[in-house]
């Protein structure tokens, strides 16, 4: 309607349209500026991966070195270690953490007692709101060899103390357990929402046909949330390389670096701690590009499965 009021592309019409929406432009401007400065300027800054960036020379005058940093990274023995660690942690995550919220949501959905359901939900959501520092802190207090609960129990029942926090063998298990503890409850929300949309008449009909609870679960409930499961799995694959950075950063120490160092933590220690800006930007760029490819591919997959996709 409004567009028809200014049909011709005359300059004055354009001006009029601009003036009419001037407050909208005014409102969008700060946000736009924010995205340009804090999101697009860093993207432009990626070019230092192709230069030998020296702070006193500045962005422009630092010498261009092409793919030097990438070559160094790919021929570095750290590369394979980082790749392996990231892949294993991500795989653990999908194998052991991903199914749990689904299982818990299905169980919650079967609960008849509204009060117990509400109580359990309230309790299992809580850890999501704690910072990783708190979660890792609690893990430290539980697992330390100096009076930690787990080791005290081990000793009491005739075992020996295990140095959980500075060992290679336990690192991945602890990381995965922490994720499960923190996020399982919260992860149920989306599945519970999907389950709430199931038509109760379906269950009624199934009961008439003599289906027991397990059969109802298998033939009605699970198919109902199938598409939610698939889309979340695909989204998860899109962020496959994004192992929880803060968590790993906090759990990492000199003793477990061999299994714990992932791309993000490596970028931090090489870039910020050692000041090798260009090299660590190259590492970060490598990870971002793989991540972008994974997102695009998984979104394509989502659409192939007949889902909406994320964009």
């Amino acid at each position: 309607m409004k567009a028809q009021a200014y049909p011709a592309a005359k300059p004055s019409a354009w001006m009029g349209r601009f003036m009419r929406n001037r407050w909208l432009y005014f409102m969008v401007f700060p946000g736009l500026l924010y995205f340009l400065v804090f999101k697009y300027w860093p993207m432009y800054g990626i070019f230092i991966a192709f230069k030998d960036y020296q702070p006193f020379l500045g962005f422009w005058d630092s010498p261009f070195v092409g793919l030097k940093h990438f070559e160094r990274f790919f021929s570095d023995s750290n590369f394979l270690v980082l790749f392996r660690n990231t892949l294993i942690l991500a795989t653990y995550n999908i194998l052991f953490f991903f199914p749990l919220p689904i299982v818990i949501a299905l169980m919650l959905n079967e609960l008849r007692q509204e009060f117990i359901k509400r109580t359990v939900q309230t309790l299992v959501y809580i850890p999501h709101f704690m910072s990783w520092v708190v979660v890792v802190g609690i893990a430290y207090i539980f697992l330390t060899t100096e009076g930690g609960m787990v080791n005290e129990l081990l000793v009491r029942y005739g075992g020996e103390k295990i140095n959980f926090l500075v060992s290679n063998e336990w690192f991945r298990t602890i990381i995965t357990a922490e994720v499960i503890w923190k996020e399982t409850g919260w992860g149920t929300i989306i599945f519970l929402a999907a389950l709430a949309g199931v038509d109760p008449q379906l269950y009624e009909a199934a009961r008439m046909d003599g289906a027991n609870r397990l059969r109802q679960l298998w033939h009605i409930t699970l198919p109902a949330i199938r598409s939610t499961i698939i889309i979340l799995l695909i989204l998860r694959l899109g962020h496959f390389l994004d192992t929880g950075f803060e968590q790993i950063f906090l759990m990492l120490n000199a003793m477990n670096r061999e299994v714990g160092e992932v791309f993000d933590t490596y970028v931090y220690s090489v870039g910020i701690s050692q000041g090798q800006y260009s090299f660590s930007t190259a590492v970060g760029l490598f990870k971002s590009v793989i991540g972008l490819i994974l997102v695009v591919v998984s979104n394509h997959l989502a659409k192939k499965f007949g889902e909406e996709g994320i964009y």
């Binding site: 407050w23 700060p30 946000g31 804090f38 809580i126 503890w181 399982t184 993000d264 971002s288």
Partner: protein, 293 residues
């Protein structure tokens, strides 16, 4: 008429309840352990190893940490960042989301595309760090407030929310002589209070838990938010809470377990106090997220 449940169904139910309660218990026990431990005496902690219910309560750990300037200062820093940061988040998110929700806004497709792309690809840690550094934000609270001012995800959800408001609202306000700014502040924002509340709480939790940005951008330990101090005390345990001069240089004996636990409680409690208010909103907030635009 409900049918009498079969035996199989009853066994199913009781097994289900038992397992879920067990899961809830596993989730909660660490809290109880930490809260109980923070009230226990060091002697009892050492003797019994672990405690879920201390035999004697003492406030020593709390008295100690609140007598130190470091913890109180960090708490104040975090409160400041949470309050100011959330206001900034909400203001800028809504301000940008509203024009993008208006069908008569020019360039809204390209601007949206610009925003969505940042969700898929970014400059990464080092280039972002260098931008913040070049803007002179290192060691200032701005570095914790501004670089995360707008979450692209929240922006898009907020825009979808604004889009659901009826068009007639704007028309009539315009006829009454209101400009777009007036419509936004006087009509759209008041109508959006439930959504704003949800996002405020999500943003606030993010600020309260802010950790890594502070590690990156804040070197001055007198400006540390509580989470960074918490890491220092509980995980690195290289200095005491009372040591305010230089946390890392002077090596002080690691703090007692009960002190660590008390610091955890103090740095988490405010979130847990917000939680009951949050709870009835967030399921809705998460569902908003699944609305496609």
């Amino acid at each position: 008429m409900p049918i009498k449940p079969s035996w199989g169904s009853r066994i199913f139910d009781s097994l289900n309840v038992t397992l879920l309660l067990a899961f809830a218990l596993i989730t909660v026990i660490p809290f109880i352990y930490v809260i109980a431990g923070s009230f226990a005496t060091q002697k009892e902690l050492l003797q019994r190893g672990f405690i879920l219910f201390p035999t004697e309560y003492t406030l020593d750990a709390y008295k100690y940490i609140f007598s130190t300037p470091t913890l109180v200062r960090s708490l104040l820093v975090t409160v400041y960042i949470t309050v100011v940061g959330t206001l900034i988040n909400i203001f800028f998110t809504c301000m940008m989301a509203y024009p993008l929700a208006r069908k008569d806004m020019d360039f809204r497709k390209p601007i949206l595309l610009l925003v969505v792309f940042t969700m898929l690809f970014g400059g990464g840690m080092i280039p972002t760090f260098l931008v913040v550094k070049q803007l002179g934000m290192i060691n200032t609270y701005w570095s914790l407030l501004i670089p995360g001012a707008i979450s692209a995800f929240n922006l898009i959800i907020m825009r979808n929310f604004f889009q659901q408001l009826p068009d007639g609202l704007e028309e009539s306000a315009k006829i009454d002589g209101c400009n777009d700014l007036g419509i936004f502040f006087r009509i759209v924002l008041p109508l959006s209070l439930p959504a704003i509340a949800t996002f405020s709480l999500f943003y606030a939790v993010g600020h309260w838990n802010t950790f890594f940005n502070a590690v990156l951008y804040i070197n001055d330990h007198t400006k540390w938010p509580i989470q960074v101090l918490l890491r220092q005390i509980v995980i690195l345990a290289s200095g005491g809470v009372g040591d305010s001069s230089s946390m890392e240089a002077d090596f002080v004996a690691p703090p007692e377990q009960s002190v660590k636990m008390a610091v955890i409680v103090v740095s988490t409690l405010p979130i847990l106090l917000v939680y009951p208010f949050l709870q009835k909103h967030f399921a809705k907030g998460v569902l908003l997220g699944s609305v496609k635009g």
